[in-house]
Symmetry: C2
């Protein structure tokens, strides 16, 4: 099995370089370094955070399947069941990793929106930043949306962080409505539509379902333009 973990797209002049990082089969085994120092037995400082960080690292570098409770606890240098003091489940750990991902995504979106002038250009940058995040953190992105944390249950944390990220979009829509750049429909609904567009583009790109001459880069630009005509102020007195 091949795992695609990372897609980097760099632009040099008018040449775009697509760099796909993947691993075949299992990840490299953890070295036999006996990290479990018997000298300092107790209290890890912030074990929960350490586990979360190691989990995220494994997902990003070697794919979702590499996130094993055994691997995580071994690498952190802690016994298997110590992990269960901080996470009820493997699902719970994955949910924590996903929540962290949404936090990172939110930051990336906010930066793109704010540094590009909070206008039409900023909104385009926001969309591009979204797709770029998904492609750059391919495996990570799948954890965030793969249904790992299906419904409301443990998802409290994930739910909060994802709505935080979504809020950036909503605010960008509202700002643009004030500036007369976006039609005066329900901003929540408009933001959901925009989210669906970028999410759909990102997912199709990740699944390799974007064939032909269209690379993710140009598709994003195209989608951005269509999105603009879809939510922009109407040219004619149309409604509904």
């Amino acid at each position: 099995m091949w795992n695609v973990n990372n897609v980097n797209i760099s632009l040099v002049g008018n040449v775009s370089v697509v760099n796909i990082v993947c691993y075949h089969g299992a990840m490299p085994r953890t070295p036999k370094t006996p990290r479990r120092t018997p000298a300092r037995p107790y209290h890890h400082g912030d074990l929960r955070h350490a586990l979360l960080q190691e989990g995220a690292r494994l997902v990003a570098r070697y794919g979702v399947d590499a996130l094993t409770l055994r691997a995580v606890s071994d690498r952190v240098g802690v016994s298997r069941s110590a992990l269960y003091r901080h996470f009820a489940d493997k699902q719970a750990l994955l949910a924590g990793v996903a929540a962290e991902g949404f936090r990172t995504l939110r930051a990336a979106l906010a930066t793109a929106w704010e540094t590009q002038g909070r206008g039409a250009a900023g909104f385009d940058a926001l969309g591009e930043a979204y797709v770029r995040f998904a492609l750059t953190h391919a495996t990570y992105y799948r954890v965030m949306f793969g249904g790992v944390v299906a419904q409301g249950e443990i998802a409290g944390d994930v739910d909060g962080e994802s709505t935080n990220a979504f809020q950036v979009l909503v605010e960008a829509i509202v700002d643009q409505q004030r500036a007369g750049l976006v039609r005066p429909d329900d901003p929540h609904a408009l933001a959901l539509f925009a989210w669906a567009v970028v999410h759909g583009v990102a997912m199709l790109a990740l699944d390799g379902l974007i064939p032909g001459p269209l690379d993710p880069e140009t598709l994003t630009a195209f989608a951005s333009a269509r999105l603009r005509t879809g939510i922009g102020v109407p040219r004619v007195p149309a409604s509904a």
Copy 2:
């Protein structure tokens, strides 16, 4: 862990009933019926097809995690390694299931498009049929798009079936362009955009990320309208 396997939405009058089927924990164990009749030992007729069908059934009824090579072979009444004569891998079996899903999806889309008159109404029906398929076959849909069959590799079958499904969309776009209903841009690109929209809506709905007063039904209608303004013929001489 809760697994959402099925979402049914029925409309009675102006009341929409959302029925979510889910299982907690493991699925019911296979009964101890010794299906392995020692009387007729060899040749199963079409073992490959039987395995594929049982795999799809397990995914649809109990979730992706229930698709175990042991469970599939047991239920079909065949030894574990007999399965490896037809599928090199668990991935390969999952890929087969996904391919079957795309075949079903294609049929649903074609039916919606054709029975609604191959026009604007037909295109709306196509979009609704897409989202409806995703919600009705939630777990199945995740197998199709969950990155199970990451890149080109074994994906030959999946790739073919998914592009077949996509082709329905492209042809619908082309037909509408001929009728002057859709702007004369590259139909391939327009179809990709439309796909991204419905796929994005479907995924967000499946992840429970569509909060507030917006149910998937109304969102689809909303998205459909925005999509129309996004790919429809321009009202002003605008371009590019």
